[in-house]
Amino acid sequence: MRDAIQMFLLCVEGFFILYMVCYSSFLFLSVTVGSADLYAVKRRNLLKNELGNDYYIPVSILVPAHNEEVTIEATVKSLLDLDYKLYEIVVVDDGSTDDTTRVMRETFRMHRIDRPVQRRIPCQNEEEIYETREWKVPITLVRKQNGGKADALNMGINVANYPYFLCIDADSVLQHDSLEKIVRPVLEDPTVVAVGGTVRPSNGAEIERGRVVRYRMPRNLLASMQVMEYDRSFLASRILFDRFNGNIIISGAFGLFLKSVVIAAGGYDNTTMGEDMELAVKLHVYCRENNRPYRIRYVTDAVCWTQVPERLRDLCRQRRRWHIGLFQSMMKYRNILANPRYGAVSFISYFYFLFYELFSPYIEVFGVFTTLLAFSVDLINVPFMILFFGIYVVYTSVLSLTAFFARIHTIDLKLYPTDVLKAVGLCAVEVSCLRFVMAWVRMMALVGYRRKKNTWGRIERQKIQIK
């Protein structure tokens, strides 16, 4: 029996060493490539290697909203402050039970209008449509039957007048220059079908007419840890994926899409919870199956500010929803796995998301159980285990800090000594504690998820601090 356990643990050890080496290599590559890329972008901008501000591609900004009476006014006002000329704002109220529609109607002096909707993607029926032309750009409000976020976005696409659409969350604020920055890849390369922008936590930021006037690490520790996490994700791994056209996530909080291709691909899937990831993967599949040359880009200097949860319960809910969305997208497009037709999207992106995002909570929890098993049969070298864990924590903390410091290459963020101290203190906590809590939450996410599909995730909303 002991021999069998020993053999089992030996196999597990081999697997974990391979797993960790691959993961460390990925993190290492993403942080170094991300940091170098941000440095290059900053230098390019300094040396005017950029398109001027005179090129306007018409864009419809879609804001799906459900019970957003607290934030919707600030969000739409921030959209009116963008340094861009050719755009429209379309707010889709997905059957809110609060006063979202009333707030929009009264704040922006909107009038009900009988507008025919060209239904190119199926979605729930509209109940009322309001428009106003009193502002810098046209604003449209569609109130429709509840159908979920994907359904609301599909309605937005049907109502949108322009060839490109940008989707943002109703609790997000766009930086004043974000629209001109996010359309640049389209001008740089005509084959671009989608562009993802950078999402940053707005907790702790003071924003005035789309400009960040003060940005510090949030007071709330949970939010601060998410700042580190967002830096690692947006200022590192997405840049690496962008190198080989391998981004299979465009955040629902900030993404630009070519409308005709999204319609041809069938729009957002309202049967999944992670509609943003599903659409990005779908676009890869659609373009490759139809032999259409395409690029899905990610830009670091187009920034959207969004609220991150400050309570553990809200964070758990959000991560649970994300994990279910990831599971649904990965399962729906499982034919990508090890499929040479998809090249790096299959062998790097899909593999990464499968093993290091979808399966990682199970693998990590399995690792903890085998450690306990090894401990119980006295087959573990405890000092070495502690040393190895220590190396892991230090290494991952260094990576997190490298990604955090990479922000100096972005135009608008500055480092403050107290923020640096906070980051140094929290990175180890994030890696050694929060990560395991999240692993447990993600592992439990798939239990009973079918009952809650097509619902809007709720987190406690706060008024956005914009002036």
Binding site: I17, M20, V21, S24, S25, L27, F28, V31, T32, S35, Y39, A40, R43, R44, L47, K48, N49, E50, L51, D54, Y55, I57, P58, K85, H111, I113, D114, R115, P116, Q118, E131, T132, R133, E134, W135, K136, V137, P138, N161, Y162, P163, V186, L187, E188, D189, P190, I391, V394, Y395, V398, L399, L401, T402, F405, A406, I408, H409, L415
Partner: protein, 388 residues
């Protein structure tokens, strides 16, 4: 053990990056100060020189000594000093004759810099092109060689090198070089967005009529994408190209985008001679050719006559949303009120009715907005057709 070593190695590299980022961050804080110092240094030298030129005896033009040109060549071949020099030129917008003369005499330096930046990394080359586009040379002797160097920049892989070189060539104003550049840009691996090409052509500093003549002469040698950008440029620049535009419009073998660009041209510069083909487009029931119908519906707003009104009324029954939308806007431009249109169309076609009702209400909202001083984006009487 190997794993640990690997992790230590990775960690060490990341740690060095961390240190680099911290040092770089500290270095960045002094960036503005350093640029200011360099600008002061260049300013001092340039002002000394301009002052010496001012003191030259009347009637004898002051000349810039070779020593100064050599100093400028050396300094400006460092990109940070070129940045400083650009800042100086931006400050000197209100230029007097002596300063302009100084700049004219400085042109050999630009030619030297063009060859110096040819060997630099792409971002620096692109910046040099940007500099030339902002401050084009003022003496023609060096132009030919400079253009050849810029044309070679167009062949480089870096996108911004190509974009800025293209802008610089447009600002130099030589049609021959532009024709060669457009052929280069039309190659499979060097294509730029049509908007970038058109916008740069619009800053062309030479005679636009001469340029347009050359563009037509070389038109068939360009790629379709370049042809489209050229047609857009001509639309913004000149109403005197009806003949070749009509040829494109009537040629079914031409690319769809080119024919649509020609329709847009005749929307801006109406010509009764093409009314028949615009009517053919709008009457075409083929759903695959809806884009021709939709754009023609907008163009026909500028064409008076009962036949046009009848065709637009007929288009209100089109199954395509955009055709109906644009037709209703054009009918309004013909002086028909939406109430009249509703009467003419009768109440049978729900789609036509809905569209007209929507247009009526939109119009009402626009009037209200204008009365309230809003709708800054759209002046009165200008109805935006939906882009398709």
């Amino acid at each position: 053990m190997g794993t640990e070593v690997l992790l230590y190695g990775y960690g060490l590299v990341c740690l060095s990056m961390l240190v680099f980022n911290i040092v770089y961050s500290l270095h960045l804080r002094g960036d503005e100060r350093r640029l200011g110092r360099r600008t002061d240094e260049v300013r001092r030298r340039v002002e000394q020189q301009v002052q010496a030129m001012r003191q030259a005896p009347p009637g004898t033009p002051g000349t810039v000594p070779a020593g100064h040109l050599a100093w400028m060549s050396r300094r400006l071949s460092r990109v940070n000093f070129l940045l400083a020099f650009e800042r100086l030129l931006e400050e000197h917008r209100e230029t007097d004759d002596v300063f302009l003369d100084y700049l004219r005499q400085l042109q050999p330096v630009m030619l030297y810099l063009a060859t110096a930046y040819l060997r630099r990394e792409a971002t620096q080359t692109a910046y040099f092109c940007h500099f030339l586009a902002r401050h084009p040379p003022r003496r023609y002797e060096e132009m030919e060689q400079l253009q050849q160097v810029l044309l070679s920049f167009l062949r480089r892989k870096d996108l911004y090198c190509r974009i800025n070189a293209w802008k610089a060539l447009c600002s130099l104003g030589s049609p021959d070089a532009l024709m060669e550049a457009l052929r280069e840009l039309g190659k499979e691996d060097g294509q730029l967005h049509g908007k970038v090409i058109t916008e740069a052509l619009l800053i062309y500093t030479g005679d636009p009529d001469v340029l347009i003549g050359r563009l037509w002469a070389c038109f068939d040698r360009f790629s379709t994408q370049i042809q489209r950008a050229v047609l857009d440029y001509i639309r913004f620049q000149s109403g005197g190209c009806r003949g070749p535009m009509e040829e494109i419009l009537r040629d079914p073998a031409r690319d769809k985008e080119l024919r649509i660009a020609a329709i847009r041209y005749f929307a801006r510069y109406p010509d009764p001679g093409v009314e028949d083909i615009l009517l053919d487009f709008i009457r075409d029931p083929d759903p695959l050719r809806w884009e021709y119908a939709a754009i023609s519906a907008t163009a026909l707003a500028q064409y008076p006559g009962q036949a046009v009104v009848d065709a637009l009324l007929q288009a209100m029954h089109s199954p395509n949303w955009y055709v109906r939308y644009n037709a209703s806007a054009s009918l309004e431009a013909h002086g028909l009120s939406y109430e009249e249109m509703l009467q003419v169309l009768g109440g049978d076609d729900r789609y036509a009715r809905e569209m007209l009702t929507y247009r009526m209400e939109s119009r009402r909202l626009e009037k209200q907005a204008r009365a309230a001083g809003g709708a800054r984006h759209r002046p009165e009487g200008e109805e935006a057709a939906l882009p398709v």
